[in-house]
């Protein structure tokens, strides 16, 4: 697409290099940043514009974010992803960029725990403890959405309810996968968060606050 074909509403962000442009489909409805295919390739992503899906229920901002998320392939497992970070921070402000920064840290800790669990279980457990220290602040970013907040809450309870007992390799793997999912899609729906959290329970992680058990008891008349 040449620059002449771009909408007048389109605000060219920092991604101005390269000669081939890939526009999220709703660029004309808002001042969306455009992504050059060249810069995306440099960042290690594959352009997949044919995967763009419109979902009117999300509103214009949601459409844009969703489109942008689906424009690129998932974020690499660990480490910074400047493209996504910059895109999101421009769109949503500081809470989202804080969350992404914290999720990067959380992802790094859980990945290191997973890598170390067979050879050095003490280090693995310590990495998970450091992950746990990040979660209260990550929970402060829950204005991103209830799906985000619920999944962070479930991860926190999965760890707290272990009462200090180290996680197994498969349990670490599940939490790692959930954090990766949050990193890729912080606007996760509540239903998807429930489905992910249910996999924790299948691995014998308890994700409910202990108080809820008492809540199920019927008060005597």
């Amino acid at each position: 697409m040449s620059s002449k074909e771009m909408s007048p509403n389109f605000s060219v962000s920092r991604y101005t290099t390269g000669d081939k442009w890939v526009l999220p489909p709703y660029s004309e409805l808002s001042s969306a940043p455009a992504l050059s295919a060249a810069s995306m390739h440099e960042a290690g992503h594959t352009v997949a514009s044919q995967q763009l899906i419109a979902d009117p229920s999300l509103g214009t901002g949601g459409l844009l974010i969703r489109a942008a998320m689906e424009l690129v392939n998932p974020v690499p497992a660990v480490g910074e992803s400047p493209l996504v970070d910059d895109l999101f921070s421009q769109l949503r402000g500081s809470t989202l960029s804080s969350a992404l920064h914290l999720l990067n840290e959380a992802l790094a800790h859980s990945q290191r725990a997973f890598d170390a669990i067979d050879s050095d279980p003490v280090s693995a457990d310590d990495e998970m403890q450091q992950l746990q220290a990040i979660l209260p602040e990550l929970f402060c970013c829950r204005s991103i959405g209830d799906g985000f907040g619920a999944l962070v809450n479930s991860i926190q309870y999965a760890l707290v309810n272990r009462e200090g007992f180290p996680l197994t390799k498969s349990q670490i793997s599940l939490l790692l996968g959930a954090i990766r999912k949050l990193r890729e899609a912080p606007f996760i729906s509540f239903g998807d968060a429930v489905n992910l959290a249910m996999t924790f329970e299948d691995a014998e992680l308890v994700i409910d606050p202990p108080a809820l058990s008492h809540l199920a008891d019927e008060p005597t008349e």
Partner: protein, 283 residues
């Protein structure tokens, strides 16, 4: 653990609640006890009771947190109501709610408030910690309610609808039967001897639940051609399990005090999960 024989279990609401909403020993007991049975039957009536009872308390507290928008205000209301006859939660539950998974030092807490604003106050954190956990528990329970069971005795007068979120609040409607007449009633009304037997047992116990059940049984006996009302259907409660459990099944319940006499009066077996585990210990 593998089933020892081809026994059938008929699961009552209290055990379903332990499986879906409890954590720890009670949940493990219920789950382990079920492992000893090859066929696991769950009547829709248990799902109906579960939704209208334990799950409703979860939704009620969730919505209270949403409406009051404050954890401390919610706790205050719970404590004040607990001192009246109209209690919604046990005192143990109210005490347990005071705990939080987000224990952080005062200095760190101030830093977070400075950075994230009112969302980072302890009150807001606890409010959302429980609000989100309650919604998660409700949705999880609903998705899991039929897991591992063969659903029996569907009642066309009761429509199962998943919990819905509207304006931030959860809705469980419907929790009772619809407009069409009761589908359980014809099968109950055609057994006058069973009704009389159950009423005789019910009349020996003097508590409000038994009195309501006795009245419902009496009404059906007296007017077998008049369909059950919604309230009568609810008031029958444990009697429904005693009536509809297959003869060769074991009714699994933690409410032995109420349900066992009813079941035994009809020649049926009622056991708690711990009894099943004790019976099968060593097998």
């Amino acid at each position: 653990m593998s089933p020892q024989n081809k026994q059938t279990v008929y699961v009552e609401t209290t055990v379903l609640t332990d499986l879906l909403l409890k954590t720890g020993a009670l949940k493990e007991q219920a789950s382990s006890a079920l492992g000893f049975f090859e066929e696991k039957l769950l009547p829709v009536y248990a799902i109906k009771e579960f939704k209208a009872g334990p799950l409703r308390r979860f939704v009620w507290l969730h919505n209270k947190l949403v409406v009051l928008n404050s954890f401390s205000a919610t706790l205050d209301i719970l404590q004040r109501v607990s001192r009246t006859p109209q209690r919604y939660l046990t005192s143990t539950a109210i005490e347990a709610l005071k705990t939080t998974a987000y224990s952080i030092g005062n200095i760190k807490a101030r830093e977070l408030v400075k950075k994230y604003g009112p969302n980072a106050t302890l009150d807001a954190m606890q409010r959302d910690e429980y609000r989100l956990a309650l919604r998660m528990a409700v949705e999880k329970a609903w998705k899991n309610r039929k897991r591992g069971f063969r659903i029996v005795q569907p009642v066309s007068c009761y429509i199962e609808v998943a919990p819905q979120e509207k304006r931030g609040q959860l809705s469980l409607e419907p929790t009772s039967c619809g407009e069409m007449s009761c589908r359980l009633w014809p099968k109950i009304a055609e057994q006058p001897q069973v009704l009389a037997t159950l009423r005789a047992v019910t009349d020996t116990v003097s508590n409000a639940e038994h009195k309501r059940r006795s009245q419902a049984l009496h009404d059906i006996e007296r007017k077998p051609n008049v369909p059950l009302s919604r309230n009568q259907c609810v008031n029958l409660g444990d009697a429904v399990f005693a009536i509809f459990a297959p003869k060769d099944s074991t009714i699994l319940s933690t409410n032995l005090r109420d349900l066992r006499p009813l079941a035994e009066s009809l020649g049926k077996t009622c056991k708690s999960p711990s009894e099943v585990l004790a019976t099968n210990a060593g097998t």
